[in-house]
Amino acid sequence: MEASTAPAGTGRGEKAPAPKGRRPAWLPWAAGAVAVLAGLGLQSQLYSGQERTVTTVYMFVALAAAWNLIGGFTGYACFGQVGFFGLGAYTTVILMVHGGLSFWVAWPVSAVVAAVFAAVIGLPLLRLKGHYFAVATLGVAEGLRELVTNVPRWTGGGAGVTIPSTGDLAPTLWLGNDGFYLLFLGLAAVTALISALISRGRTGYALRAINQDEDAAAAMGVNTTRAKTLAFAVSAALTGAIGSAYAFQQVTIYPERLFDVNITVLMIVMVVIGGSGTVAGPVLGALGIAVVSEYLRQHFPQMHSLTLGVLIIAAVILLPQGLVNFVRDAMRTRDFSLLSNVRRYRL
């Protein structure tokens, strides 16, 4: 068949204009490098309270980017992500307190434990879709919290447990505000880097295809079971590593705080607002929410939660596809109106 027999294809005039000023391939990498350098430079400008706040922001950047691998790229909304966070944390606690191991050993082991756990529960759970998957993972996280609370000999139970981090008994000395600042900045950078590498490679295409239509992906040769399980395990490994670092930073940890469902909710909100399934979206979403939240906390302490909630609702209504995807759509169609965006995605 000749190409000219395609009336609809030729009826639309010449080819779409070559994208003007198409962004060069090195730009995202350069932007990432600049962001990390800025983070390093910022450190010297902060006093210790601010340094801890910014460290927490980095933690959420990393958590959001990790959730995005399974929830954003793959489209499996995991509502039990905090389970991997807590699992990483308590693995580290047990290894350091009972095993006397260095944090630098416990840290990678915690990531591996979370990944293996995710792969094992993923085989049955990733056969579920949509709400069923969300509720099942939520149940797993709650179950883990109950488990941790009920084996106090190992975990300290509800009363909490303290990692020895000073003096001769400490397997590893506490890293200090400066040390944890660098640790979490590094975790955020590595998580974003892994997202970028996955996004550009074959695996990224497989995950996006699964997200859009799993049957079609399988028909095109994508081993959907393997791709989904891989995404889930990598996401869990990163989340476990973050939880591990958080446990050491906090020194004393409690199951209620380590398995707090609000942590999962924050990750999801950050990803959705920033742009799920993109590399930059979770990073910008986490930074944006953290900055707005902190501003409101300082200037409108009484109205903080209410105002933040209203802003999140407004953002989800006006930018249902997230900030990064909105900008991408708007650049392509040259239409920056929020109303026509709502029309495109909501109506």
């Binding site: 068949m1 000749e2 190409a3 027999t5 395609a6 009336p7 609809a8 294809g9 080819k15 779409a16 994208p19 550009r200 490679g201 074959r202 295409y205 497989a206 996006r208 295809a209 997200n211 859009q212 239509d213 049957d215 079609a216 992906a217 399988a218 028909a219 095109m220 040769g221 994508v222 081993n223 959907t224 079971t225 399934g277």
Partner: protein, 264 residues
């Protein structure tokens, strides 16, 4: 019933005696109902098998059974002499069996070219690099008449172009067997002939083709053999002219009253 226009394609009559895909006793039960039962078919290189049947006859279920999207309750599927009964869809795709979906399934978040590139990256002979896969995708798009449309999102394609994309995604697998589930549905009359010509060209390239279609004239024009499904079973099978003049086929499509009022 009028004689179908056009004759079955000449040439390639000697092609492919050994079937590349064969089913035996293939069946699938949903609850107490067999949607498909006891279907034996063989697809040969360079040959087109048309499958027709009224709505609900089990045509799409048959494709889903062969492609691995449904597991058969009974029977077997062999590809290239190997048993693929109950295999997952990607294993069957890796064996060289490509399919389209009756309801088009574009990856909406990817551009048209990236949609096709996925098949090039994960097919039987996978291309490792996304950039190389996109170049192959552009060639396939050119072939199905979507040249130059690679950069747009699938949502901006017309119905006919969405069907072309569906076909391009199947072709990018470089398959041996092509299962086409109503690729002509929704096309305007002027768009049908080029599409048929393309399908016939693929057959001449040596693919084994299975075409499901409602438009009987269209299917008769390009099929070497036609299989009629009715209530999930094979009503009859044979050369198009013979099958389409079969009284039982007319009855299956139009009902008893039509045949009684118009005794042939």
């Amino acid at each position: 019933m009028t004689e179908p226009e056009g004759s079955p394609p000449a040439g390639g009559t000697e092609a492919g005696d050994a079937p590349v895909l064969r089913t035996r006793g293939l069946g699938r039960r949903f609850g107490g109902l067999f949607a498909v039962s006891d279907v034996a078919l063989a697809l040969r290189p360079g040959r087109t098998l048309g499958v027709i049947g009224p709505n609900g006859a089990g045509k799409s279920t048959l494709v889903n059974l062969v492609s691995g999207h449904l597991k058969p309750t009974t029977g077997s599927v062999h590809v290239g002499g190997k048993d693929f009964t109950g295999a997952r869809p990607w294993r069957i795709a890796h064996a060289g069996v490509a399919r389209t979906f009756q309801i088009v399934k574009p990856f909406r978040g990817l551009t048209v070219a990236d949609n096709v590139a996925v098949a090039a990256m994960f097919g039987p002979s996978p291309v490792r690099s996304p950039a190389q896969a996109r170049r192959e995708a552009e060639q396939v798009l050119e072939r199905v008449g979507l040249g130059g449309r690679g950069g747009v999102p699938p949502a901006e394609l017309s119905v006919a172009d969405a069907r072309r994309l569906e076909l391009a995604k199947a072709l990018a697998l470089r398959p041996r067997v092509l299962l086409l589930d109503e690729v002509l549905a929704g096309l305007r009359p002027a768009e049908i002939d080029p599409a048929l010509a393309l399908i016939d060209e693929l057959r001449r390239d040596g693919l084994a083709v299975l075409v499901i279609e409602h438009i009987i004239q269209a299917i008769a024009a390009i099929s070497d053999e036609v299989l009629v499904l009715h209530h999930g079973t094979v009503l009859t099978q044979g050369p198009p002219r013979q099958v389409l003049s079969d009284e039982r086929v007319v009855e299956a499509y139009l009902g008893h009253r039509y045949t009684r009022k118009n005794p042939s």
